[in-house]
């Protein structure tokens, strides 16, 4: 039996993997930066928590409610802001994340405000978390290997060319954004039902930034990279926890170091697969062979 600490970490990793999967679709594949996905996570968390506690909805229903609300808000926000480019869009999402936080704090009658929302039933168990995380990644992976994933990629690489071959770039940006909001909302629901207590601060801009950092460090256009990076970056501060005050220092340095050492992120443009590993090994062998020839 795993220790509760290990279980807790695995659950946290799973929850983060779900949220990061959404961001990976959005940032890694579609090339849009969002600093507001923690806001969607907050929506999912609060909606599902309120559904569970106030309306006594079953776990599954409350999760779905959270996902739906995130999707609807994501759709509306996307409609409004997806015409903006690059960092302009980024700021709009960042603002959204902030607004969600402020609104939760402000409407404290419903949400508990800064006092937080407590007594959420603990429903997210280890197995549920693992199964749902694997399921989410599988869904995302299958999407990526279909025309949807291709169209996301086309938007990221070359919008003009994408349009020229008949891809409605706005629609696919919208789709990626709503998907990422749904994944975030889903993660939020699981989060609420694991920690049993939520406060707006848990979903601040740092959390959003962390998702984005995770995806970029994992490498663009690589779902497996995002997942690996999510595991690494969630566990890294835990590894450093015993270093007490040096912990975040090492964490920051580790992020910079990874980017310097691996110029396209951990897995940039590649998926972890047997084929890829075989190819890498062959390439390595080839490289050493050619070196030998030279000397």
């Amino acid at each position: 039996m795993l220790s509760s600490y290990a279980q807790g970490l695995i659950i946290l990793v799973c929850i983060n993997v779900i949220a990061v999967t959404g961001v990976s679709l959005l940032t890694g594949f579609t090339g849009l930066f969002s600093f507001g996905n923690a806001g969607f996570m907050a929506l999912g968390a609060y909606v599902s928590a309120i559904a569970s506690v106030e309306l006594h909805a079953p776990f599954l229903v409350s999760l779905v409610a959270g996902v739906l609300v995130a999707a609807i808000i994501g759709f509306g926000l996307g409609r409004l802001t997806l015409g903006l480019r690059g960092d302009y869009f980024l700021i709009a999402t960042l603002g959204f994340g902030q607004v969600v936080q402020v609104l939760i704090e402000f409407f404290d009658k419903v949400t508990g405000g800064a006092r937080g929302f407590a007594n959420i039933p603990p429903k997210t168990t280890l197995w549920i978390a693992v199964v749902l995380a694997v399921g989410s990644v599988a869904v995302a992976a299958n999407l990526i290997h279909s025309k949807f994933g291709r169209n996301f990629t086309a938007v990221r690489e070359q919008e003009v060319a994408a349009e020229a071959v008949g891809i409605d770039t706005f629609r696919f940006k919208q789709m990626a954004f709503v998907l990422s909001a749904m994944f975030a909302g889903f993660a939020g629901g699981l989060f609420a039902h694991y920690y049993m207590y939520i406060v707006p601060k848990m979903f601040d801009i740092n959390e959003s930034a962390l998702f984005t950092i995770t995806v970029v460090v994992g490498g663009l256009a690589s779902l497996s990279g995002s997942v690996i990076s999510c595991v690494v970056l969630t566990l890294l501060p835990e590894l450093f926890r015993s270093l007490a005050s040096y912990r975040m220092l090492f964490y920051g340095m580790a992020v910079v170091a990874i980017i310097l050492i691996r110029p396209s992120g951990l897995m940039g443009y590649h998926e972890l697969s047997f084929g890829w590993i075989r190819e890498r090994m062959r390439a390595k062998r080839g490289k050493t062979a050619s070196k030998e020839r030279k000397t």
Binding site: K147, A161, G166, I167, D168
Partner: protein, 259 residues
């Protein structure tokens, strides 16, 4: 006469510059039409207007009776106008074959649920798309480099890849913007053969911008010559080549095509 494209009185101004002025064109189904003229005459701008990248300041355009003015780029592409870009616009980070597959949206009829569960329909469509992509690459002689990164191809091959990609979207009208740029004579002539070939095979109509006169004269059924946004000549290659104002503005006195 079976007109596929009809443009009337098209105009585009950039600030004070009138890049396209009163441009009209009727394209007959199945023809190859040349669009030539000095640099800056407005040829690419016409392509950009036709494909919705720019919006005209005057005029009408219709593809088989469907109005094109005001439509989004992707919509026009879906209606059947495919194009290549003068400044190459490939998905440079992706492999050559993925560039083609990327454009095969029309062949993917499945929905999101099919994709998530990898249904038979999904598998059938995907297999078809891959197969066709490979065929198109073979057709252009890019079969051997299908797994290379598109950005790593030499310039000439990138141009060919652009054509393959445009074809993948199953256009009825293909706009080629200087496809032979960066190709030598032999490669250009190969290209000529190839354009003829695909026109027949896919029942295409082609509108071609090109400065390689050997290509233009060889392949075009008719030619329109632009200068400063205005049409100065319109006719079959022989007529155009002999036209005084075309020589003055575009060809120059010594067309030393020695071969």
């Amino acid at each position: 006469m079976n007109s596929i494209l009809s443009i009337k009185g098209l105009g585009k101004k950039f600030g004070g510059v009138c890049a396209v002025d009163e441009f009209s064109l009727e394209l007959e189904q199945g023809t190859i039409h040349g669009l030539i003229g000095p640099n800056g005459a407005g040829k690419t701008t016409i392509f950009n207007l036709m494909t919705g990248i720019y919006h005209p300041t005057a005029g009408t355009m219709a593809l088989r009776g469907t109005n094109l003015v005001g439509l989004g780029s992707y919509r026009i592409a879906q209606l059947g106008i495919g194009r290549t870009f003068q400044n190459i616009r490939l998905f440079t980070q992706l492999s050559v074959i993925d560039n083609v597959v990327m454009a095969s949206g029309v062949d993917a009829t499945y929905g999101m649920v099919d994709a998530i569960f990898k249904t038979r329909r999904y598998q059938r469509d995907e297999a078809k798309i891959r197969k066709r992509a490979r065929e198109l690459l073979d057709l252009l002689g890019l079969g051997g480099v299908s797994d290379e990164r598109a950005g790593a191809l030499p310039y000439g091959s990138q141009r060919k890849l652009e054509i393959a990609r445009a074809l993948a979207a199953r256009p009825v009208l293909l706009l080629l913007d200087e496809p032979a740029a960066g190709m030598n004579e032999e490669e250009s002539m190969e290209l000529v053969g190839f354009i003829r070939d695909v026109r027949k095979r896919f029942d295409l109509t082609v509108l071609l911008i090109e400065h390689h006169m050997s290509v233009v004269m060889e392949i075009c059924d008719r030619i329109t010559v632009l200068d400063f946004g205005k049409t100065i000549c319109n006719g079959i290659p022989k007529e155009v080549q002999a036209n005084r104002s075309v020589i003055d503005a575009y060809l120059g006195e010594t067309t030393d095509r020695e071969n």
